[in-house]
């Protein structure tokens, strides 16, 4: 019997550019052409000023560890506990949920404010997930 799979995101027309970017090895954000607000999650207007003039750009992929839990139980399908569920604050401002790879999943190793950089984990032919690893590691 196959192992239960990790939850797969299903893109919508408004988020497709983000998932296309991840597949191409880019973390893509959006910026408002009128007020310069950088925001996440994706949507075709600025949640700061309501302008529909927005652009997609490639983010630096750099950020820091804002907060996290190390989940022990119950574990989500496709995950082996304990595993960290992190929130990363990006250099450009927005925060996003992610996992931290190449790092022990312990409070000693996961230090708030540690620098992180984006990496990409291919789930299947259509979905690649942005994840993060300690910067310069």
């Amino acid at each position: 019997m196959a192992e239960p799979a990790r939850a797969r995101p299903k893109p919508t027309p408004e988020t497709q550019h983000y998932w296309d970017g991840a597949k191409a090895g880019e973390l893509r954000l959006q910026r408002c052409d009128d007020c310069s607000n950088v925001y996440f999650p994706p949507r075709p207007f600025c949640p700061g000023c309501a302008s529909r003039k927005v652009s997609v750009f490639k983010a630096s992929g750099k950020g820091f560890l804002y907060s996290y839990v190390i989940n022990h139980r119950p574990a989500a399908p496709g995950f082996t506990p304990p595993y960290a569920i992190a929130v990363v604050e990006l250099e450009e401002g927005p925060r996003l949920m992610s996992n931290i790879i190449d790092c022990p999943q312990t409070p000693e190793a996961l230090v708030l404010d540690m620098k992180l950089e984006v990496a990409f984990e291919k789930l299947d032919d259509t979905i690649t997930l942005p994840v993060f690893r300690p910067a310069g590691g």
């Binding site: 990790r6 939850a7 797969r8 995101p9 299903k10 893109p11 919508t12 988020t15 998932w19 996440f40 999650p41 804002y66 907060s67 996290y68 839990v69 190390i70 989940n71 022990h72 139980r73 119950p74 574990a75 989500a76 399908p77 496709g78 995950f79 304990p82 595993y83 569920i85 992190a86 929130v87 925060r95 996003l96 949920m97 992610s98 996992n99 409070p107 708030l112 789930l123 997930l129």
Partner: protein, 379 residues
């Protein structure tokens, strides 16, 4: 809204609380509703307004045999019932209905007739949170707490003390699920759920329900029980995605709902005799004390650890034992409201002597929503 224009004239929980394997979720709604109607000395046909969450108002109205002139299906998580009280008070004031029934019930433990909850893969949560292994509230609600602790200088021991002192309150409540005394060491050595939280810092999972009946204050004096007046209310929402909160140092929804209720009530924090802060997890009372303006966030941990909220302390908080020790069927807000009403009626098992003003503050989702109701027993 005018202060004290509307009152709670009926309040009851389900006949049983805890593990109720012989009753479906909708029947738990009905059990709570019938108990509240009896408490108010009313007939079902007297009810002309109905509000509920998760289950739809049409489901509850039909099951009870009520055809209302006003309905509210606001469903924003566990504080939905605080919002129902606020909306019902406004509706009664506006003349849309006269007598509102608010019901909550959940077969949270036994899962009988419980509606499935799922996150669609093409929702924002399904795309940007679920793939990273969040799986139920214990893996999500504590995500902000390490940042909160670092920003405000809060310790693991201080947060553990929340569970310890609420257990002291629970020991005074015959209907509380968990009554055995615990220590900070017990909490910090209990089974790890999602670091930094252990099982004694997470709410119970139980079956049960509760219902409230509200009517205008000028009618309230004719009811069998002491009326409990609505002095002030507030509500807000922030985001269904915990990762997208504006900051983890505070809850934006709390900072709107709480202060709005205080302003409407025209009271200061010194006037508060009794406080309920929805405690699905042990950090919520700290966020609540800070965001409602009782003290700076930096002082909340020490304030609780020093015993100020325990029985006999200067600010009686979560006097039923809370979601951590009393009961938590999934949407705890109704039980917090029930305890505030009991305290204002003067009939709580752990009664705060002479209490005249009770603040009842709720959260919905993972800091997604908030509702605050301030009650008084003096008009």
């Amino acid at each position: 809204m005018r202060r004290n224009a509307v009152a709670v004239v009926g309040a009851a929980e389900t006949t049983e609380l805890g593990v109720i394997p012989n009753t479906s979720q909708i029947q738990l709604h009905a059990d709570a509703a019938l108990n509240a109607i009896k408490d108010a000395g009313l007939k079902l046909s007297d009810i002309d307004g109905i509000a509920t969450a998760v289950e739809t108002p049409q489901q509850i109205a039909h099951y009870l045999g009520i055809t209302p002139t006003w309905v509210d299906g606001t469903s924003v998580g566990g504080c939905s019932f605080m919002l129902h009280v606020r909306h019902a008070a406004a509706a009664i004031e506006a003349g849309l209905c006269k007598t509102v029934l608010i019901t909550h019930a959940e077969s949270g433990k036994s899962m009988i007739g419980k509606l499935p909850r799922s996150i669609p893969a093409d929702s924002l949560q399904g795309q940007f949170e679920a793939p990273y292994g969040v799986y139920g509230p214990p893996s999500m609600f504590p995500i902000p707490v390490l940042r909160y602790m670092k920003t405000h200088g809060i310790t693991h021991e201080q947060i553990a003390s929340v569970a310890v002192f609420q257990r002291e309150w629970a020991a005074k409540n015959p209907r509380a699920m968990m009554k055995a005394p615990i220590t900070v060491e017990d909490v910090l050595n209990s089974k790890m759920i999602a670091y930094p939280f252990r099982i004694l810092q997470c709410c119970l999972v139980t079956d049960g329900g509760g219902a409230l009946i509200l009517t205008s204050a000028d009618r309230a004096k004719d009811f069998p029980n002491k009326p409990v007046y609505i002095l002030g209310t507030g509500e807000s929402v922030e985001t269904p995605m915990v990762s997208q909160m504006k900051t983890f140092d505070s809850s934006r929804a709390f900072t709107v709902a709480g202060p709005t209720a205080f302003r409407e009530a025209g009271i200061t924090h010194k006037d508060v005799d009794h406080l309920m802060i929805y405690d699905a997890f042990a950090h919520l009372p700290l966020y609540g004390l800070g965001d409602l303006g009782f003290m700076p966030h930096e002082e909340t941990g020490q304030f609780i650890a020093d015993g100020n909220t325990r029985p006999g302390g200067k600010l009686s908080m979560n006097t039923n034992g809370g979601g951590l020790s009393y009961m938590h069927s999934g949407m705890y807000g109704m039980y917090a409201l029930q305890e505030s009403v009991r305290q204002m009626r003067g009939i709580a098992p752990a009664q705060v002597e002479g209490a005249k003003i009770s603040v009842c503050h709720g959260v919905g989702g993972m800091f997604a929503a908030s509702g605050t109701v301030i009650f008084t027993n003096e008009k």
